[in-house]
């Protein structure tokens, strides 16, 4: 129906715009490094007492943290608040004047930013891995390939979640509150703070039914080949289903919210 070119242009433009926000990236990178370094030392202290925890060695944990870092750096705070700010400052009604699908437009912009973030992230992750040395690469090519697919899906799931969180701002003006709550929930249930295998059983079961595991835990497990072969494909399938479900949920919530806006006059 609508041509893809306009969305591609939006993506390019957002890549361009995000490059002009060097300072933003700098802050985001610093925040990412601080977060991961804090986790690094906490886990280091924990592993000082033991060689293994829930089947993960200290080596494994370091590798896991690297993936946490990568997924955290892709699609940051910046993209997230970009959507909520739009909702809050009322430029949504300006968006409604353009022949664009709101969700696809925001998606294109977010992906544009993520591509730039991805480039920077790769550099930083590589140097971080060098500094803290002996982080393992995925054991083989297949695992690397599956990991990249899973990582891409992780970004899409994250988009689905922040898009929904952004739309919540139609009902509250607390951008930071929403973003903070979203980040806290994501960090907990995605396995960014603690690998899901270390959760008590009941909690692990819950996380298995939520989309967040697809953000960190699944790509990390594939990277470390704790999921491989059919198991890996199965989990990638789960990620994929969540991408679709979240996209459709976003579409429905948007349709509902925009009806409120156009009725009550934002």
């Amino acid at each position: 129906m609508t041509s893809a070119k306009k969305y591609f242009s939006l993506m390019k433009t957002s890549m361009q715009a995000s490059l002009s926000y060097r300072f933003n990236f700098f802050i985001n990178t610093i925040a990412g490094i601080v977060f991961i370094t804090a986790l690094f030392y906490i886990w280091k202290a924990i592993y000082a007492q033991r060689t293994e925890l829930g089947g993960m060695s200290w080596e494994d944990m370091k590798t896991y943290l690297l993936v946490v870092f990568i997924t955290n750096m892709l699609l940051t705070w910046y993209s997230e608040t970009a959507i909520s700010r739009r909702v809050i400052d009322g430029s949504v009604s300006m968006d409604l004047l353009k022949p664009l699908d709101f969700q696809k437009a925001r998606f294109s912009e977010t992906i544009g930013t993520s591509i730039i973030e991805g480039g920077i992230c790769a550099l930083v992750a590589a140097s971080w891995a060098t500094v803290f040395a002996d982080v393992n690469l995925p054991p083989n090519l297949l695992a690397s390939g599956l990991f990249l697919v899973s990582l891409a899906l992780s970004v899409l799931i994250k988009f689905g979640i922040i898009y929904l969180a952004g739309l919540v701002c139609f009902y509250t003006s607390s951008v930071l509150g929403v973003a903070w709550a979203r980040a806290a929930i994501t960090n907990l249930f995605s396995g960014a703070l603690v690998p899901l295998t270390l959760f008590p059983d009941w909690l692990e079961t819950i996380t298995r039914w939520l989309p967040f595991q697809g953000i960190v835990f699944i790509p990390a497990s594939i990277y470390m080949e704790r999921m491989s072969g059919l198991d890996a494909l199965w989990n990638i399938g789960i990620q994929f289903i969540w991408v679709i479900v979240l996209w459709l949920a976003g579409k429905a919530v948007w349709r509902w919210s925009v009806r409120q806006v156009t009725i009550h006059g934002g």
Binding site: T13, A17, L96, P99, D101, I263
Partner: protein, 344 residues
């Protein structure tokens, strides 16, 4: 088929009722009381292709609300509307392609992007073919002087520059229908006249239909042949500007300066019923009359024969004054043929 057709269009907003102060806020937190505010109340409007219509009225009359409904970003509470064959809020994306909208208070440009890049992004968003894009860019550059600031991001340009850029952005895809909500607000005279020229050009050369709201009556004089006045959400006048000035600008004032004090002006005009005089000082006075009753020549010759006149000039009420009186309820418009009603 008309370009715009609305039938008893209504928009009622729900506004929160809150008593003042913290107490009021706490009460509102628990009770959540609202009142209905009818912003647009039964508007019937028909605008044909190629028309240029000024939509005016006092603050809060419901002008912006109407435009928002016509552009599809507000859903009417009741009534029907059809814009170039579409119901705007139901067919939003398709409708968006056929209209160009400028809200003077808001920008549609990308805040962080150089203005030029905003344009080239719009080119893709509206799927504007290359030759048309080039042609329009050249023309807009000429008419609006965009090159002066096109490499700056929107957040760094002045209000007047932003308005020019916004106009160009809204018209880049040659929309057959253009809504302009206060496009000259806060601009200096030079920029205003530039924008008026531009809008006139779009209307006359491209045949775009224009609906414009403004508080600047010069805009109307320059651009629009038809005037729709709205007050408290209702249309109180729909017709030409001349008709309204004919109807109301019947009062003329002649100001005289004389060499020697005149003994009695009222004596001079005594045999002219309906004419009133006003002594300004010893050597100057003014005379008011109805121009449908007397010609200015009649009055002037009467006075010149009785006083040694050095100088005189004639004043007619400005449209500003007329419309201000209308808003204030000092003039009441009859629905049909206002000029006839007043004259008889």
């Amino acid at each position: 088929m008309s370009m715009i057709e609305t039938f008893s269009l209504n928009k009622t907003f729900r506004q929160a009722i809150k008593d003042p102060g913290l107490k009021g806020s706490i009460k509102h937190f628990f009770t959540q009381q609202y009142r209905d505010k009818t912003a647009v109340n039964g508007i019937d409007l028909k605008i044909e292709e190629g028309e240029s219509v000024a939509y005016v009225g006092p603050n809060g009359a419901g002008k912006s609300t109407t435009i928002k409904m016509l552009s599809g970003i507000l859903v009417p509470t009741s009534g029907t509307l059809r814009v170039n064959g579409l119901v705007p809020h139901e067919d939003r994306i398709r409708h968006a392609k056929q209209i160009g909208v400028v809200f003077g208070q808001r920008t549609q440009l990308w805040w962080d992007l150089p203005v030029r890049e905003s344009f080239s992004l719009l080119k893709d968003i509206y799927e504007i073919p290359d030759p048309l894009y080039k042609k329009n860019m050249d023309r807009f550059n000429d008419l609006l002087g965009l090159h002066e600031f096109s490499d700056l991001p929107a957040r760094k340009i002045s209000l007047g520059q932003r308005m020019r850029a916004d106009l160009a952005a809204a018209l880049l895809h040659n929309p057959p229908l253009v809504f302009l909500d206060e496009p000259t607000i806060g601009l200096d005279i030079a920029v205003k006249s530039r924008i008026r020229e531009f809008v006139k050009n779009i209307n006359q050369k491209e045949g775009s239909t224009i609906l414009l709201t403004t508080h600047d009556l010069e805009d109307i004089k320059d651009i629009c042949r038809r005037l729709v006045i709205i007050d408290k959400g209702r249309i109180i006048y729909d017709g030409t500007l001349e008709k309204i000035t004919d109807a109301f600008a019947q009062e003329r004032t002649l100001h005289f300066q004389v060499r020697e004090p005149v003994s009695s002006i009222s004596g001079i005009i005594a045999n002219l019923p309906g004419v009133t005089a006003d002594q300004v000082n010893e050597l100057s006075f003014s005379v008011k009359f109805n121009r449908f009753q007397y010609s200015a020549g009649e009055i002037a010759s009467k006075i010149i024969t009785s006083a040694d006149v050095i100088d005189f000039r004639i004043d007619e009420p400005s449209i500003d004054q007329i419309i201000r009186k209308l808003y204030n309820g000092e003039l009441i418009l009859q629905e049909e043929q206002p000029s006839e009603a007043i004259r008889s």
